[in-house]
Subunit: 133 residues, 2 copies
């Protein structure tokens, strides 16, 4: 597959694909004799994997380390697994934090609801200032 095809398939610009390869966020891509990138299925899977992990918020740093370990061969399998486990833990931590934020928003939204109720009851009577942040 050409870089344009991979770009389209994964919704990642060709520039970004080259950039990812340059910084080691994906392993070197297979090339034609002329030096043009010719993504194999494995290369594509790396792109998909990295895209998924990046959009979930894994740091570039951690992913580069994973790729680096991968390229060092079978001796690093335990290290790679440990890395993934740690990143999974961080991800769950962030999910929990975001869940807490959802609940905070729920509380705020509910207070707006209550205000609306009071407002419709008091329509055309006195007006009370709404002071919630």
């Amino acid at each position: 597959m050409t870089i344009a095809e991979v770009s389209k398939k994964y919704g990642v610009s060709a520039d970004t694909l080259r950039y990812y390869e340059r910084i080691g966020l994906i392993p070197p891509v297979h090339r034609t004799a002329g030096g043009i990138r010719d993504y194999t299925d494995d290369d594509c899977n790396w792109v998909g994997f990295i895209k998924c992990m990046r959009s979930a918020g894994l740091t570039i740093e951690a992913l580069i380390e994973y790729v680096t370990l991968y390229q060092q061969g079978d001796e690093t399998i335990q290290a790679r697994k440990d890395l993934l486990i740690e990143q999974r833990r961080l991800l769950l931590e962030r999910i929990a934090e975001m869940q807490a934020t959802v609940e905070r928003l729920d509380g705020k939204i509910e207070r707006y609801d209550q205000w609306n109720q009071r407002f419709s009851q008091q329509l055309a009577q006195s007006s009370s200032k709404n002071e919630q942040p």
Copy 2:
């Protein structure tokens, strides 16, 4: 409260607090006669709220709009509520995406486990290449 105290309390640098105020991410903070910031409880609550929302990933853009609406008074209550509901929805969407990524990581980690099992069974026999991304 002085800016230094607020900075310490919320773990946000004084520069960032001033920056947030400047771009309208928090409403203007109360000042002393001499022009020095003197955060009220309300000002502090804004800082806490914005910090929480930012670290959950809400965009600065959306939060500025929320603050802008807030400053326009009671007429914007419905709009503010709608904004929060929409942001809540986006947050849940991202949580779901991250949850899917956790599951993808689980699958990968499990495959590393299986490889380790095979490896310890085959110890000192043949070596098989590990090809998972």
